[in-house]
Amino acid sequence: MATLVFFYFAGVIVLTSLLVVALRNPIYSALSLLIMFFHVAGLYVTLRAEFLAAVQIIVYAGAILVLYLFVVMLLNVKREERYHQQFPIGAFLGLTILTEVLLLAYHRSSANEPALPLSQAARTMSNGQSVATGVAPAVGNTETIGEVLYSTYLFPFEVASLILLVAMIGAIILAKRDLFGEGKS
């Protein structure tokens, strides 16, 4: 049953991701991306990462994709042909990354060790119950993330806020020309 659910989500994710690049109308691409985000959120839920699922929809579907839609409408692209001519480069890059992922997956399954320290920390935090044995933690996923993020990963968290500040300044500087150019002319 669990495998069936996984393959449903994974299958739809693969299919919709392919459609994102294959569809000629950019708005349809955006919609297929929307469906993909929901299924990724579904995968997170089955992995008991509820908070990540919510963040996935709020940030990606609710904010970033709206931005994409604005860009597509702003530029009024009817059909996108340019990227379909870049197929060889895309195929080359895609195959390289796929090989890497497969290698990594192979090494991980043979080592049978969590690759990320975060998952390890999360395991010990969740009332000592192991996630690997299929036992749900008694505390929610949000609490676990909060306790780990604001103690063990304090420094990366503050760095993230700095990065957001830089992103903000970058966005405004990029857009500034249009903002003030219009106002003056």
Binding site: I27, E50, I58, G140
Partner: protein, 356 residues
């Protein structure tokens, strides 16, 4: 296996009841709004269909159902049909996590069942935030697909307005989460039990009054209601993003707007006004009547929700429409600093005077 079947059956029944109640409330609201605004303007409101016009919503619904769906020339037919569904569905499914009454668990045919909440998930409030942001797609795609200048402008305005005020909603609820220590709407309500001064709007150590005001104003803006109904401002945009819509597709946008109104009223009642909790312990069934406490819980929840719905009508009858630049400036330069300041003060107060 039988248990699973019973569970699914109960779940489906519950969902059908909630959706039915929401849609009936929408029907009632369309009439109530016209009546209330009519009385406020010294008119009678609808009087023709049935005694005192009470059958008006049924007549409206039937009429829209049998009307022709016009798809304008040059429109994108697929997106044009999809947009109303994308607008309505997020407004309906938000009700999945709203607790309508006390957190009881009863046993029916040997299956545990919570009658007053469809699904008490740990991230309830984030789930609602996530799906309200999806509602913007229906509006923006509907505007774009119509191939009409008014629709496009209305759709864009709506999208920019919804995302701006969504930020303020997101900030306003942080204070409540901080005091409750949970994202689950059931747990947030339970944290406000007892007397009315435990409701988060008045709660010590720091009342969430400012957050409440920011939330209410932002949710009026998010539902595109007066005085923030710029996306459908009839004096400049004809009808905004649904200018070209007719028949049932138009009805869907209409339903979505009213369902969203009910949803944000439910959230406001749950987060700030104590949800199903009575203002005072003696105002609910207790003592020998204690097994009827759920009825008083549902009653108080309904009263609070209708208070907000009335507020929506009242605002519409009272306030003139804002200009678009005023609307954006108000959201980004007034509401956002207030919400941020509220978080800071609440955090410091909660640290200095820990609760319980």
């Amino acid at each position: 296996m039988v248990e699973v079947g019973i569970k699914i059956g109960l779940s489906i029944t519950q969902i059908a009841v909630v959706m039915g109640v929401v849609l009936l409330t929408v029907m009632f609201l369309t009439l109530a709004e016209r009546k209330v605004i009519g009385w406020m303007q010294d008119r009678m409101g609808p009087m023709e269909v049935g005694p005192y016009g009470i059958l008006q919503p049924i007549a409206d619904g039937l009429k829209l159902f049998f009307k022709e769906d016009i798809v304008p020339a040059g429109a994108n037919k697929f997106l044009f049909s999809l947009a109303p569904i994308l607008a309505l569905v997020p407004a309906l499914i938000g009700f999945a996590v709203i607790p309508f009454g006390p957190n009881l668990t009863v046993e029916i045919f040997g299956v545990q069942f919570q009658p007053f909440v469809i699904s008490d998930i740990n991230i309830g409030i984030l789930y609602i935030l996530a799906f309200t942001s999806i509602g913007a797609y229906g509006v923006i795609l509907g505007g774009w697909a119509s191939n009409s200048k008014y629709s496009l402008l209305g759709g864009l305005r709506a999208a920019a307005q919804v995302i701006s005020y969504e930020l303020n909603v997101g900030l306003a609820i942080v204070g409540v989460i901080l005091l409750a220590g949970s994202l689950s709407l059931v747990k947030i309500t339970e944290a406000q039990s007892g007397w009315f001064w435990n409701w988060f709007i008045f709660a010590p150590p720091f009342p969430q009054l400012f957050a409440f005001v920011v939330y209410v104003i932002s949710s009026v803006a998010e539902t595109n209601r007066m005085p923030f109904d710029l996306p459908e401002a009839e004096s400049e945009l004809v009808a905004g993003f649904f200018t070209e819509y007719s028949g049932m597709r138009f009805a869907f946008f209409f339903l979505a707007e009213y369902a969203n109104m009910i949803l944000v009223s439910c959230i406001a009642a749950t987060l700030f006004l104590g949800g199903w909790n009575a203002p005072a312990p003696f105002l609910q069934f207790h003592g020998s009547w204690a097994n009827l406490a759920w009825a008083s819980g549902v009653f108080w929840f309904t009263v609070k929700v209708y208070f907000f719905l009335f507020l929506f009508f009242w605002l519409r009858a009272t306030l003139p429409r804002l200009r678009y630049d005023q609307l954006m400036r108000f959201g980004w330069k007034v509401m956002l600093p207030i919400a941020l300041g509220n978080i800071l003060i609440t955090a410091i107060a909660a640290y200095l005077f820990p609760r319980g």
